[in-house]
Symmetry: C2
Subunit: 169 residues, 2 copies
């Protein structure tokens, strides 16, 4: 897919058609996350990939808004570092890695949706990540149940003229 | 460009060849930022686009690592919200919008590099953004002075096997 098509076709997909995502496609998505830039190249991320249905159902309980995880073909859990760096860039860099993976997925026709984690203890119990890691985010993945990814003509966003300032605010 | 080529070709570019970036290309890059996902679609970003050479030279003084801004064809200043949201997602979402713009730029053969802002007062004086906005990041843009963007075979990153955990940590 052309880059611009992937950028414009990415949308939140919360219902999936049940088909698995090929392992090679999952690895390509993870590779996109791995290649992301970060503050002084500190790469403050680990990714846990969950594809087991029973485990996905359990994982869907870590936040009230994470129900879509249960029916996903796979969910990537983005784990942040134990501590932020001197510039406070952990969340910014996790956001960059996440966006790379969302676009790499869209490129393969795979829909995605974010979810936060409020029950970090349950997430840790299910996934076994170290106790000193305070940040976890979920990205659910799968083929859309409703319709394939195609460019979104009018995204529900603030208008460009409102958010862009030329030269000065 | 194909999405995967854009993802693998993006690299930090700090030296630019002096050619301007067409206004339509800049707008496409900004549109990629505008379309980014964010927590409950709050879109906590504003973008200030600087293309004036004298202003770019001044802007390069906002951080000791921002020298590359002076020679950029354009620099997009990403301004965050006045306050974080209840989930603390401001930086994560600014990172997502930034990554969208980096990849949209790579797709057009345009190199990019981040810079932080330590002298927020100087940035505010040069750009006129409101005093209650505490977050600003720079993305410098331009055509690479050394060689065009092509896929990076071996990015300087932690190996995939080290960062990816299957099923459990």
């Amino acid at each position: 897919m052309q880059t611009w098509e992937a950028i414009t076709s990415r949308r939140n997909v919360r219902a999936f058609d049940g088909r698995p995502v090929p392992a090679a496609d999952l690895d390509q998505i993870l590779e996109a996350g791995r290649r992301s830039p970060s503050s002084q190249n500190w790469q403050p991320w680990d990714f846990i990939v969950v594809t087991d249905r029973a485990q996905l159902r359990e994982l869907a309980r870590v936040w009230r808004g994470a129900a879509h995880v249960a029916g996903s073909a796979a969910t990537i859990v983005v784990i942040g570092p134990a501590a932020d760096n001197e510039f406070g860039r952990a969340q910014f860099d996790l956001g960059q890695a996440t966006m790379s993976m969302l676009l790499a997925a869209a490129d393969l026709g795979i829909g995605t949706c974010h979810a936060g984690v409020t029950d970090l203890e349950l997430a840790r119990e299910l996934l076994g990540f170290p106790a000193d890691r305070p940040w976890a985010f979920l990205i659910s993945l799968g083929y859309p149940a409703d319709r394939p990814l195609t460019p979104v003509r009018n995204p529900r966003r603030r208008p460009l003229d409102e958010i862009v300032h030329r030269g000065r605010w």
